[in-house]
Each structure stands twice: as C-alpha cells, then as structure tokens.
Amino acid sequence: VTGRHSFVCLCLDLTEHDLDRAIAEGFTHSELVKRYTGAFMGPCQGKSCMDGLLELLATKVGDSGAPARRPTMRPPAYPVTFAMAAALPGPEISDDDEEAAC
C-alpha cells in the first residue's frame, strides 16, 4: 500500500493513504475532507498542513477549482487555555448600555 506512512497532517496522523480513501468514499470537497478526516482541526489548526494538503487534494481529485478552497475557520487562531479564554475582557459596558438592556 502506498502512502501509508506518508503523513500529510501531523496533528491527527492523517496519511496520504487516508486521503486517498476519503476521496474514494466521495469526500472530495475541502470542507468535507476537513470534517471527515479531522485535518486542520488538531493543535496546529492547519498551520503545518493546510496548503500542502489542499494542493494534494486538488491534484488527486482533478482540477475542478472547488476542492482547493480553504475551509472556513473560527477563532481562536492559536490554541488558548480555558483560563486564558475566561480572562479575555469583553467590551466595556457603559451605564447607558445597561439601561438600554433593561
């Protein structure tokens, strides 16, 4: 079997073989590949793998344009601890706002 030890994503141990399998099962769009394989969803959030993997996907699927689009992502762009997330200050609430909320 080719590509079984050839890693395209280090966070979730995704190999080229896995990518081939996902494509064979019909997951050819970048959004679907992300959800099915977990790529870009590990600690690096795609920082080590995204463009390389998408390029590989595009060559394997054949260039129809769509697969190479980067999937959506949400903040935080870097992993943070829960403590840090809890500490991040929100907007300052003025007295007027509070009255408006009531």
């Binding site: 141990d13 920082k47 390389g52």
Partner: protein
Amino acid sequence: MTDRADGIEFRFNGRSVTARPGQSVAAALHANGITALTVSSKYHRPRGIFCAAGRCPNCLLNVDGRPNVRTCTVEAERGMDVRSELGRMHAAGLRGIDLVGPLFPVGFQYRYFKRPEWAYRIWENRLRRTASHTSLPVPATAVPPARRLASELAVVGAGPAGMGAALAAADAGLRVVLVSRSASLGGAAQPLEGDSVLGRAAARLETAESVQILQAATVVAQFGTVLAVDGGREAMRIEVRESILASGAYERLLPFDGNDLPGVMLAGAARRLLAQQGTRPGRRVAIVTDNDSPYHLVAELLAAGIEVPVIVDLRAAAELEQAQATLDAGRPVRVEPAARAIRAGGWQRVRWLRARSATGHALKIECDAIVISGGWQPADELRRAATGYGAIVLESHGAEAIDWQSESAVTSVVLQGAGSVVGARSALEAFYQGQIAGLQAASRQGRDVGPALERARTELRRAVGS
C-alpha cells in the same frame, strides 16, 4: 555543546537534563539526544522537533503540571519538571500504524458502534481515553489578570515587516502596539546583527516612546477593530483604529514515507535550532526540497561542522541554477535534481533516507536528520478567522497585500498584509513593505508622512531588484 558549569538542570520524565542558558526545553532535549519528545495522536508514533516555532503538535509536553505546553517556545528553567503526556506508552515505544491502521481507517469514528446507542457510549469513552494525551492541570490554573489597551495602530508580528510598519508609523506620529510571538524582535530573521538595517530598527523600536511592544504574546483573534491577545501571564484586549498583519509564512512539509520521524524537520526549524538555540539538528543532515530556501542553510550547516550528504531536489535540473549558485564551490554538496524522496527509516530517530534519482537510480543515504521544505503557506489565519467585520474579510481568502503605490487608499483597514504573509521573498523586501503599510496607516489617520513614503518605495524597489 552543553557546558556543565553554567548549565540549567531540569528533569524530563525523572531524568536529569542540562540546558544552556536561553535554550528552549525542546532544543535542550534534542541537544541531549532525546529526539523523540512526544507520541502522535492516533498511531502513537514517536515525534520530535518539527517546526521549532510553536505551531506544530510535536513538542507538546507537560511542564510543571501544565498540560500541552509548546516546549520549543519555552525557555528551560532550573528545576523544571517536564513529562511526556503519555509517559508509559512513550517509554514502550508503542507504534501501531501497521497493526491498528487497517482496522481503524480514516473516518472510522463516524461508522463503528454507532448503534445501538448504549454501545456508542462505551465506545466513545474508550476512544476518548485512548486518544487523550493529557490530564487536567495540577494545580488548577488560576484565571490570569486582564488588561485593556487602546492604540491607533496594532501590528501583528514583529519580524522584518512588523518592525518596519511599527517604526515607520511611530516615526510619523502614531501610537503603535507591536505584538511579538517571540521574546525578542526579528521574527524569522533572528538573531539580528546589531549593525544592520534590521538590527538598528530593533534597537530604535525598543526605545521608541510611542511603541508598546508586547513580547511573547499571541494575537489569537481579531474581531473588527478589537484584538484578543494571549500574553502568557495576562490576557489583553486591544482596541485599535487600524491593524497590520505581518505574521509571516509557514513552511510546508513534503509527503514521503516516514516524513514524521524524529529528526525530520522543516528547514526553518533547522535554522532556528542552529542560529537561535545553539543546537545542531543532527551530525549528518540530508535535505529534501522543492524550493531554494534550504540552499541558504547549507553554509550554516557546514560551518557548524555538520555533514550534508545530499540535496534531493524535486525540481528539474534547469530550475536549479540559481539555487546551486548559492552553494560554496569550495565545499561541494551532492545535488540530485528531479529526484524523489521515497522513504525515511529509523525507529526513535531517522537513520536513513531512500531516494530515487532522475535516472531511476536508487539511493540510500545515511543521516540522523532530514531537512525538508515544501514551499510556504501565508500565516493569514487571523484574517481568515476574523469575524464581525462583514463581507470584506469573510470573502477574501487571505491577507490583502498593501498597494504600495497608493498614498492611503485601501478597501479595509484591519489586517492589511505586509511581508511574507503576502509573498515578500526577502527580509528587506518585507521590511520596506511594512514601512509603506505603516506610513499609509499614518497618512490615513491624518499624519503628515512627508518624503518618508517615497523613500520607502525607493528602498523597496532596490530590495526586490527592479
């Protein structure tokens, strides 16, 4: 390379390790021959330093009870207690890809034991336990203090582009917050030479009154004109008028069998280990690349007494002339154009590389490290993850480059791209792009930038050689 006399002793899985002052935990372990730092999430394969820039999953260790610390960015301290997240499995060197792989193909979690539901509950728990790499922090982490900042301009990234932007904007009279992921200025260009354009810029920035430098801090999200910053010991919220994204680029990996073995690392990582950490990536370092960047590293490797047995270049011979011209003719290195890396082998560390030359000839090269480079990916995730700024950000696929001919006009004043995030190829090109971005921001906010903008444009033209 370690000097016992002023060495910093810490513990790794109960064993004593000595670091040099200023060395990161991961680099110290690597220098002490501990190249397998962690095990991978699914197959528990050994993993070692890969990016040396605090973004890949390979050096996440438990430090003094804090789980999943990016140890390549944490300086070693006396008495630190560093542990593998999966202590015992790590010691056993369990490696399940050949056994487990075929049984648990990709996407298996969506298929197996989904019905009946009670079976899934058991299965899910079991999966969690096997896949989880850590335990809750001991002692429980306190919520860090928070701080609110306001500024006219935020510059994300303190590499050449970020330094140029912050300095130029401050010179033009803006109040600037400069956020640097590392503890010192310079980004990928570190260490900076004191008497160079960048070295002088760093020295001026450090004393500039209108520039606030946040060191060892990461912008984790930007919502419109608000930046959320993880400052390590404190959380920060910065409200700005404008921001410049100078976050650089990430080097890409190359796929070949065994490309995850400890000892296989990005060219940038090898350079950072050598130049910033005083740590040799290996004694015999093979190179696999599809671009020029590792060629610039060869002289540094050779100067450090490291052998470079081969450069396996995926590009055709005709494309390599410029790259090969950068090599020192006095110390020839074997270059294999149009070659392919087939497989890297070894157990806890890479021991050999098998490649196929352009003529189909099989090569087996002994080495204890492999430097790889598969090109660059812009570090524009903040831009892609930005929300709350409407369609401009959501529809764009990356950072928007500054229009360096323009006086001030842009479509968006948040996360304007400058430097290698928008394709700058050299440190000076990035620096002057940054200057222009900074001056444009100042000009938009009503400052008189005078002849500075034209000067920066001239320098930029010179830097790109046109």
